[in-house]
Amino acid sequence: MMVQAIAFYVFAGVTIASAAMVIGSRNPVHSVLFLILAFFNSAGLFVLMGAEFLAMTLVIVYVGAVAVLFLFVVMMLDINFVKLRQGFLQYLPIGGLIGLVLIVELLMVVSGWVVSPAGLKTAAINSQAIDGVSNTLALGRLIYTEYVYLFQASGLILLIAMLGAIVLTLRQREGVKRQRITDQLDRKPEDSVEIIDVKTGSGV
């Protein structure tokens, strides 16, 4: 238990610290790297809770794909982040105040936490470990049965995201020469070769 507790606090502490650094660091590349660190630590927290599938997904999807993509974007687009931050200090006092108020309020809310008995009951039912069934299998069973609706709807969302990305970025430029295999295959000799009788001594 002790080891677990220590591990939890380490992971959680590093997560929060690196999250703060994401918005705090001056260099955007550093920010992305801190983000990756935060993801790793969150994955660690998942592992602690026994959700190894989620931990792996987090690492693979977020670290492997999303964060790396971020990194590329940040490095490829030469955005002047210093300029973007100019207004930051100006709004810090009032923004900080509002943030503070919100935090205080949320603390007050959380301090009055009473886990509802009904909630405990449902949680107990749902989180019963089934022997001999791996985390992945259990999730898969749930997702493709009880939550197939949400799964499909999420699929639709991704479809739209793809569609949107294409619509907003794909340009068909005029005058661009492009290879059309069918056109090439369809070509007949008559279309491209013309036989002209040329009289001797004169040009074409």
Partner: protein, 482 residues
């Protein structure tokens, strides 16, 4: 669990999803010139097909997909409005879309997907399905807002909407997680028993609800979560703005009703306070801010904020009568908004669309038919009897009075007096100001037909209001039969 029955229950949505996907494929394999025409026609047809499916679906409340999805009279009523609005928007936008060169075949498909998202929203019976539907809708809307990628303002509109929408989604999700944390369930049915069973409402649950309501208030553009509206409405291509003003408003308002009157009915005393505050702020601010607008699309943005405020009055009443009033109001609002935007889409000078209010000067003389229709819509929005808009407001205010929210009703009436100023200003500009450069004559049979249909509906509504009122009250009663 009979999955086939589940599919039947969600047949209209399923049908739309499949046709939309089919259209995507068809669009790719059609030559670029013809694709838009083909797909937009197919989209309108499939939307009308979906309306048919909704109409002929089994009545009565049915749950599907492990209680994540609900189909009842309320959802059906809203879905018909949504589908109709989507179809009409595609129809009226036809020429404008071609003109501003956004006639990608994806446009109607995105509209359909957004509509599907809205349908999922109104059929949500779980916080998770609510969120999924909401995101489906929002994502499609972000894209269509930025559809005119050559226009800086359109891109800006899309970006603003996206960033702020993400923020509001974040709040909504945070609210959902708080609610889940304190109630122990995400299912509406479960929440209802949890809320009704609790001896005193925990502050955590309440805070969660506040976050949730804020997320929804952003979608209906209630003050102070409205700031995106004028910019997005102005920047987005006009046909898209028409869609924004019409369908998502209705869907979000319906979702609002579904949540507050459903699972959180037991907390009515608490959430009523927020709703009343939002309602008052929206009505007053919209009425005041709209006065100094010069762009008609911005004006419509404030007008839509105001209308959201009026609809929220009905919600604030928290009664069945209030819900009925909202449903009536929304149906009438859709007709007015689509008619108005159809008129705005007709405003062109030398082929280019114009959107300043001053450009309307002299419309009464140069285009008497359009001017008369716009006059009807403006009068109706201002709530002048015997036009339909008057009845919409009347039922809302009656509901407020019945619920003894006198001050709310009075503020509503006063702000609608102020609001009538800017509606009437348009009428004044059209009929009493001197002709500026004449606008082009209206082209397109479809748009003329739709304008006249909307105008006739508005004008003749009073002959038989019971048609709408009865179906609205049937739809509303579903939420109160427990």
């Amino acid at each position: 669990m009979n999955s086939f029955v589940d599919l039947l229950i969600s047949l209209p949505e399923l049908f739309l999803v499949l046709t939309a996907m089919g259209m995507m494929v068809a669009g790719v394999y059609t030559s670029a010139g013809k694709a838009y025409t083909l797909i937009s026609n197919a989209a309108v047809l499939s939307l009308f097909g979906a309306i048919g499916l909704v109409l002929f679906a089994k009545t009565g409340t049915t749950l599907a997909f492990n209680d994540l999805f609900i189909n009842d009279g309320f959802a059906q009523y809203i879905k018909i409005i949504l589908l109709l609005a989507a179809a009409l928007v595609i129809l009226i936008g036809d020429r404008a879309v071609r003109k501003i060169k956004i006639a990608h075949f994806e446009y109607p498909i995105l509209i359909i997907f957004a509509t599907i998202g809205m349908m999922l929203m109104v059929s949500a019976n779980d916080l998770m399905s609510l969120y999924v539907g909401l995101e489906l809708q929002s994502l499609a809307l972000y894209v269509v807002a930025a559809l005119n990628r050559d226009s800086l303002r359109s891109s800006e509109a899309g970006l603003k909407y996206f960033v702020l929408g993400a923020l509001s989604s974040g709040m909504l999700l945070y609210g959902c997680s708080l609610i889940y944390g304190y109630a122990g369930t995400t299912s509406f049915t479960g929440l209802e028993t949890a809320v009704a069973g609790a001896s005193n409402i925990s502050l955590g649950l309440l805070t969660g609800l506040v976050f949730l309501i804020v997320g929804l208030a952003f979608k209906v553009a209630a003050v102070p979560f409205h700031m995106w509206t004028p910019d997005v409405y102005e920047g987005a291509p006009t046909p898209v703005t028409a869609f924004f003003a019409a369908a998502p408003k209705v869907a979000s308002m319906a979702l609002f009703v579904r949540i507050t009157m459903g699972p959180f009915q037991g907390m009515a005393d608490q959430w009523q306070q927020i709703i009343i505050v939002l309602s008052i702020l929206s009505m007053v601010l919209a009425a005041l801010a709209a006065i100094s607008q010069t762009n008609i699309k911005r004006l419509m943005a404030y007008s839509s904020i105001g209308h959201a405020g009026y609809a929220l009055i009905g919600l604030g009443a928290g009664t069945k009568q209030g819900t009925t009033a909202i449903l009536i109001y929304l149906a009438i609002y859709i007709v007015m908004v689509i008619g108005t935007f159809a008129c705005i889409l007709c405003m062109k000078r030398k082929g280019n669309s114009v959107e300043q209010i001053n450009d309307l000067a002299g419309l009464g003389k140069s285009h008497p038919a359009i001017a008369a229709a716009l006059l009807l819509f403006m009068f109706s929005m201002a709530g002048i009897p015997p036009l339909a808009g008057f009845f919409g407001k009347l039922y809302i205010f009656l509901a407020a009075i019945e619920a003894e929210l006198y001050s709310l009703a009075v503020i509503g009436v006063l702000s609608s007096v102020v609001g009538s100023f800017y509606y009437l200003r348009i009428v004044k500009v059209m009929y009493f100001d001197n002709l500026s450069d004449e606008l082009d004559s209206v082209t397109g049979k479809r748009i003329s037909v739709i304008i006249s249909l909307c105008a006739l509906t508005i004008l003749l509504f009073f002959l038989s209001p019971s048609l709408l009122v009865d179906s609205a009250s049937t739809a509303a009663s579903v939420l109160f039969e427990k």
